[in-house]
């Protein structure tokens, strides 16, 4: 139903506004002069005056907020204190890296975890179930930066199979294919570590869901129909367990922000998360705000996509089918 999408869109817009508002107020309640957290203290007095005007700092708070919202929506984030360059110019090149890292990690860990969970649920008390449950609990109980540092130490330093830092080799290899392979090579360890840390909770959750679903009456009936075990497992059981699995996918998305910051920092990736941390360390508040906003935006967009998938998977939510009801 259309009303479902309208509700979702309003919800997304509200969250977006919340992120912007949080940004707006956070950097205004910082200790010290309001101006100094928005305008670089090292600027000349004339430059400061100009920035005051640009940011509307002399105007009432509400007016400032409206200006702020408009600037966020048009990606007009101002000038970085640290680099003196437009912030969006610096962020733009980082966004694809962050999407590649988090997107691949999220997709691979959820797909792998889901598959393992289904296999574990297949035979209760079997060896597969034990292995999945044990490796799953190990996977999700380790602190991520620790695992990542250890991996970096062993697989990039002691045993230099993977690069120590960065998103590309320097100099950058020639040719599109070589460049892509180089990119993937740089991505393998950070994304791999996120998969290693992330698949466990998926596997355990999906296994529990599938065990419950496989006990349902319609599974008994699907078996009675003489269907193959894989048809029963995937077409009836997994298909029915899919909506709650997608719910977890939705809940996992906010973890994107912390995942990006930690992973990109440990592996020195040219991404939005590392930019966020660097900006905070350098007291570059406009840049930090912009990076936080971009991560929030990525979360909201993937949230909407997961919502759409949920609506398709669960017929109890009406999407574009018979109106009313």
């Amino acid at each position: 139903m259309r009303s479902y999408w309208i509700r979702r869109a309003i919800g997304a817009a509200a969250v977006l506004l919340l992120v912007i508002a949080a940004n707006f107020f956070l950097f205004r309640i910082m200790p010290g002069d309001v101006v100094s957290s928005i305008v670089d203290p090292r600027f000349s007095p004339e430059a400061k005056e100009r920035m005051r005007e640009v940011f509307g700092l002399d105007q009432p708070l509400l007016r400032q907020f409206v200006i702020y919202v408009r600037r966020m929506l048009t990606f007009d984030f101002g000038i970085s204190f640290l680099s003196q360059r437009p912030i969006w110019d610096e962020l733009r090149s980082r966004v694809p890296n962050t999407i590649a890292l988090l997107g691949s990690a999220l997709l691979i860990s959820s797909a792998l975890g889901t598959w393992l969970g289904v296999q574990a649920a297949r035979k209760r008390g079997g060896i597969t179930e034990k292995v999945v449950l044990i490796s799953g609990s190990i996977s999700f109980s380790f602190p991520s930066f620790f695992v990542q540092l250890v991996l970096l130490l062993f697989l990039a330093y002691t045993l230099p199979v993977f690069p120590l830092r960065g998103s590309v080799s320097i100099p950058v290899p020639q040719g599109a294919i070589d460049r892509m392979l180089d990119y993937i090579w740089h991505l393998l360890l950070p994304a791999g570590s996120l998969v290693l840390l992330g698949f466990g909770s998926w596997a355990i959750y999906v296994r529990n869901l599938m065990v419950k679903t496989l006990g349902e009456d319609f599974i008994l009936l699907a078996r009675a129909k003489g269907f193959s075990e894989s048809r029963v497992l995937w077409n009836h059981a997994f298909r029915s367990a899919l909506p709650p699995i997608l719910t977890i996918f939705l809940l996992a998305l906010p973890g994107i922000v912390s995942g990006a910051v930690i992973t990109e920092t440990v592996f020195s990736l040219h991404g939005v998360g590392k930019y966020l941390l660097d900006s905070i360390m350098g007291h570059d508040y406009p840049a930090a705000g912009a990076a936080f906003y971009i991560l929030g935006l990525l979360t909201i967009i993937s949230n909407l996509a997961a919502d759409a998938a949920y609506a398709i998977a669960d017929p109890r939510i009406k999407v574009g089918r018979r109106a009313g009801m």
Binding site: R124, E216, D217, F218, L220, L221, A222, R223, A224, K225, G226, F227, S228, R231, N235, H236, R239, S240, L242, P243, A313, D314, P315, R316, M325
Partner: protein, 259 residues
């Protein structure tokens, strides 16, 4: 014909083990209507699910169930898959959620036709509409999801699905027990129409002794895992020999049940 011989079923759980069926033998001649009645927990479902080898892994089963010279209980997986639904189909207890919640009714009936009978999607759609019609549902119900149907409608869909492959035997485990009285009668009538029309055998599990007796050719009374009395219904109702049968009968005359 299906011949159950010395069937015993024991459920083993961590805490204890329950003997649900004890040494039961029963003949189900082709095309005949057999009814099993008895108290709740008497082992009726355990017996009939055994025929499709659908008992859970914690159920230990002994004895044999012979169809066409093959023991269902020890047959190969592939033989079993072929036997299921084509030779013997199942209508589950009305209270159960027998339909997969995320698939349309039409898909689920069509799936049986496509996978088990090899029909094309188009043929399956056409046949699905016919099957829904036979169970007094309009073909439009094919587009619906289970949660959009009433209990009686769902049970009709399950019946349509069960007869899709024209099985020799229809196993119906309390097919109407979760429905209100009027719907019960309608669904029971639909079920019987289908059985008579197609000449299928019926194995009916029921709480309703008078109803079961009125339509079956052979009646079996089950008590504490054993068949305590079996024979033509008029003989059993006329002169019940086992105390449990008398108990069941008096329960019905007390509440003034039909028959």
């Amino acid at each position: 014909m299906i011949a159950v011989r010395n069937l015993s079923v024991t459920y083993r759980t961590a805490a204890r083990s329950v003997q649900a069926v004890t040494d039961v033998s029963l003949d189900l001649p082709k095309g005949s209507i057999t009814a099993i009645v008895g108290e709740s927990g008497g082992g009726k479902s355990s017996l009939v699910y055994g025929i499709l080898r659908l008992l859970p892994p914690q159920a230990k089963v002994s004895g044999s169930i012979i169809y066409d010279g093959t023991d269902i209980l020890s047959a190969k997986e592939s033989w079993l898959r072929d036997f299921r639904w084509k030779k013997a189909a199942l209508v589950t207890q009305g209270a159960m959620n027998s339909l997969t919640p995320v698939l349309t009714v039409g898909y689920q009936i069509g799936e049986v036709l496509r996978i088990r009978l090899g029909l094309s999607r188009k043929e399956a759609d056409k046949r699905t509409a016919e099957l829904l019609g036979m169970t007094n549902l309009s073909p439009e119900y094919a587009k619906r999801y289970p949660h959009e149907l009433s209990g009686g409608q769902k049970q009709r869909v399950v019946i349509a699905m069960a007869v899709a492959c024209s099985p020799e035997l229809l196993i119906a485990d309390e097919p109407t027990s979760a429905l209100d009285v009027i719907t019960q009668a309608e669904v029971a009538a639909t079920l019987l129409d289908m059985v008579r029309e197609k000449g299928m055998g019926l194995l009916l599990v029921s709480h309703d002794l008078p109803l079961a007796a009125s339509l079956c050719e052979n009646l079996a009374v089950m008590h504490k895992g054993r068949i305590v009395e079996t024979g033509p219904p008029e003989k059993i109702l006329g002169s019940p020999s086992h105390p449990h049968t008398k108990e069941l009968l008096s329960a019905f005359s007390l509440i003034g049940g039909p028959g």
